[in-house]
Amino acid sequence: MMLGILAHKPANMNTARRYAVQRLGFGVLILASLLVVAPILFVIGAIIARGVGAINWEFLTAMPRDGMKAGGIFPAIVGTLLLTLGTALVAIPFGVGGAIYLAEYARDTWLTRAIRLAIVNLAGIPSVVYGLFGLGLFVLFLGFGTSIVAGSLTLAIMTLPVIISTSEEALRSVPVEFRTVSASLGGTRWQGIRNIVLPQALPGIITGVILGLLRAGGETAPILFTVAAFFLPRLPQSPLDQTMALPYHLYVISTQVPGMPAEIQYGTALVLLALVLSLNVVATVIRSYFRRKRQW
């Protein structure tokens, strides 16, 4: 097949021309890569430049006032942190447990393949469909109402595939010899996993968990009908309470409230972006630090 590809080469291409074509080709690749990267820098730069003026102590710690046109975004920040915490409480045990099953226990049967297929599909389901599902099951059928519990459960199921895939990869990257040595010393399978494999895979698992939770914390569509309050200038009182949340708040003040000062919009976008990206950096640093440190 490869010979066929090369045979189509025109015979009259001299060396100088071929290298000119190569320079041109590389130029196009570089241009395309710049086109990928430049808008990313522009998005971040624009939001920082226009939002940084809004950031002050009051903005971060006060309740919104005057129909959200003044004051702070404190309840939205707290709401997002609570939702992320709730998501973690459900998604981590299921996610890491599922990954341990797939990496350490599951044999290659059709049932295991069905699990993998389920994970791929969970990862592909649109976020707004998760919102519909959360509304149908948690809010209405189980009677949690629009609440932090309903929102966290919805987000947790959405986050599950990310945590399972990254954790399984981390577990699989631990060499099989580690398990054999543990077994040869009389350790049971679980003892080997708990004392040897899990500690080695932990940085990778933590990275995956952070990345998954980040996505959950930044999501809007799944919480639209399951938890989010349009305007609620107080902190939630119980897990069955509604709450404001940063992504939904940004959506509300940029589309639903006429005459919103642009600075507050950009400020809110900046707080959300800063939360997400700083945790993103933490995850990347953990991963690269331990990748460099490990001996195998």
Binding site: G25, V36, A46, G97, I115, Y130, E219, T220, T255
Partner: protein
């Protein structure tokens, strides 16, 4: 003997627990589909099919035509892929085959950052900065167009597209490159005529996963496409407002009476979305699983 039976018990318990966690994923997929059906099936019984797949979506007047919404979703998804495919493949080729180390060290984290930016932030950016730019440069009445949505979606699909395309390039055996170079081909000829063609089915998988991501995207699309439920059948539709399935559900679910036909219709759209993404991911996954068994994603 007491300790050994306790160990055996804990072994058994742990295996049972992680097994439950693993199988829960199947349960969740089934549960999601079940609840979509439960709330969405009534619309198929209450509304005649020619209305349901008609061209008019005016729920207040009992017109539940989903066709403009489906076509709207397809229009911006395909436009987004047309933008993202050349950019993504070129960036993946650059990162894998050409880039010096320092450039790779910058590019890879930047693309991860892009993947991490919440959709609502990109939507906000799109409506407040990109849309006015499009309105003035193209001279159209509003900047909230299908094209604006496609542009934002293209960048949202890029991280998926690039990383899967990279895997595909990575799994092309080194011997292919060596053979090509040994026959006197330049590095560019090797990339363009050997490596990329050899990776094409992996690149196709990347495109499908990118499409799955794009068709299900909600917030950014809702904020930048103008949300007019019109049939995108004219040539200039790309530069006029359009409305997607996802945006319709997100925008209208908050206002409908629970149990009304409109409510069930929105779940009906959810069923359509679920099935479309299910099929796309099924196809992409079976391609990946097959390739993995044959050794390498090619």
């Amino acid at each position: 003997m007491n300790t050994s039976s306790r160990i055996r018990l804990s072994e058994f318990a742990v295996e049972a627990l992680v097994r439950v966690a693993g199988f829960s994923t199947i349960g969740f997929v089934l549960l999601i589909f079940l609840f979509l059906l439960r709330e969405g099936i009534p619309v198929f019984l209450q509304v005649p099919l020619d209305n349901l797949f008609g061209t008019r979506w005016y729920p207040t007047f009992d017109f539940f035509g989903t066709l403009p919404l489906i076509l709207g979703s397809l229009l911006i998804t395909f436009s987004a892929i047309v933008i993202a495919l050349p950019l993504g493949v070129a960036a993946a080729v650059f990162v894998r085959e050409v880039a010096p180390n320092w450039a790779r060290e910058i590019l890879k984290p930047m693309i991860e950052v892009l993947a991490g930016i919440p959709s609502v932030v990109l939507g906000f950016f799109g409506m407040s900065l990109v849309a006015p730019l499009i309105r003035t440069t193209l001279g159209v009445p509003t900047g909230l167009t299908a094209f604006t949505g496609a542009l934002i979606l293209a960048y949202m699909a890029l991280p998926t597209l690039i990383s899967v395309a990279e895997d595909a390039l990575d799994s092309v055996p080194k011997s292919y490159r060596d053979a090509s170079l040994a026959m006197g081909a330049t590095q560019w000829q090797t990339i363009w005529r050997v490596v990329v063609p050899a990776a094409r089915s992996g690149i196709l998988t990347a495109v499908m996963l990118g499409m799955g991501r794009a068709i299900g995207e909600t917030m950014a699309v809702m904020m930048v496409t103008g949300n007019a439920a019109r049939m995108p059948t004219t040539l200039d539709s790309l530069f006029r407002p359009v409305r997607t399935m996802t945006a319709t559900v997100a925008a209208e679910m908050g206002e409908v009476a629970q149990g009304s036909t409109h409510y069930h219709a929105l779940f009906g759209i959810g069923i359509i979305l679920f099935l479309i993404t299910f099929l796309i991911n099924l196809a992409a996954a079976s391609a990946i699983f097959q390739k993995r068994r044959r050794g390498g994603l090619r």
